[in-house]
């Protein structure tokens, strides 16, 4: 048994173990078919497709369950809840900006050693802060809570970096 088929078997056995009860029979069915597939790579592609199918099936069932359990219960998100969610989303967006900025700086360093030598230590912070300011400004009117989340993260992050460099 070659590596692709072994991998396929392991993947499908893991899917059987992890699948929710209502999808497990199907996952088992896909695993059983693996023995009859001709070709190592065909077996691996079968397993990958099967894993995707189970994932989608489980997702659909969870969505159905959620819709069933929230229907008729007047689970309407009130204004306060919306603001909190918006704020958290804003913080996450700002965090994503930070990762993007770090990635951009690393990429620039990799592409050009001259840039690596020229830029300052906190270039990525500067880039992330610029992203955050632009996004917060653009979102201020339509998504105020998201904008506030971005700004809070940018201010706290900026202050943290400033203190870090001041203490060094």
């Amino acid at each position: 048994m070659g590596t692709p088929r072994t991998l396929a078997g392991k993947l499908l056995r893991a899917v059987v173990l992890l699948a929710p009860a209502e999808s497990r029979d199907w996952a088992n069915a896909m695993l059983r078919e693996l023995d009859f597939i001709e070709g190592e790579w065909a077996a691996l592609f079968w397993a990958l497709g099967s894993a995707t199918a189970i994932f989608r099936h489980a997702g659909r069932n969870w969505r159905k369950w959620f819709q069933k359990n929230t229907r008729g219960q007047e689970v309407v998100m009130n204004g306060m809840m919306k603001k909190i969610v918006g704020f958290v989303v804003g913080m996450l967006v700002a965090l994503a900006f930070a990762f993007v900025a770090i990635g951009l700086v690393r990429l620039a360093d990799y592409l050009s050693p001259a840039i690596a030598q020229a830029h300052i230590d906190w270039t990525h912070v500067l880039i992330a802060e610029i992203f955050a300011i632009v996004a917060a400004t653009l979102l201020w009117r339509k998504r105020t809570s998201v904008s506030i989340g971005i700004m809070v993260f940018a201010i706290v992050g900026g202050a943290h970096v400033a203190i870090h460099y001041a203490m060094r």
Binding site: A29, A47, H57
Partner: protein
């Protein structure tokens, strides 16, 4: 009993219409219809949920792992006969298009 009749679903219905009384295995349907497992199984699952398909585990020889088998229910057979043929012209166009694409792109 709604089932979205995508070209892939029609292919599966057609695969089952060939000797509809016989139980069929997933891999065999995949080979006959040309569909990958990631496309085929969601269709089989939906058909089974809508009671168009009955499923069973093969009781084979001892020591041999059982296989999952599928067959039309009477409702499924009626549904397939009513719908697979309706889509035949569309399928013919699609098959012709696929052949042309294969010839052009290899």
């Amino acid at each position: 009993m709604k089932l979205r009749l995508s070209p892939q679903t029609v292919l599966v219905l057609e695969a089952f219409l060939h000797h509809p009384e016989q139980w069929k295995y997933g891999y065999d349907i995949s080979r006959n219809s040309g569909l990958k497992s990631g496309t085929l199984y969601p269709i089989l699952m939906r058909m089974a949920e809508r009671k168009l398909l009955e499923t069973s585990w093969e009781t084979g020889e001892p020591g041999k792992p059982p296989r999952h088998m599928y067959r039309f229910t009477p409702d499924g057979l009626r549904f397939a006969r009513a719908n697979a043929s309706l889509n035949a012209p569309g399928r013919a166009v699609q098959v012709a298009f696929d052949r042309m694409r294969d010839e052009v792109w290899g």
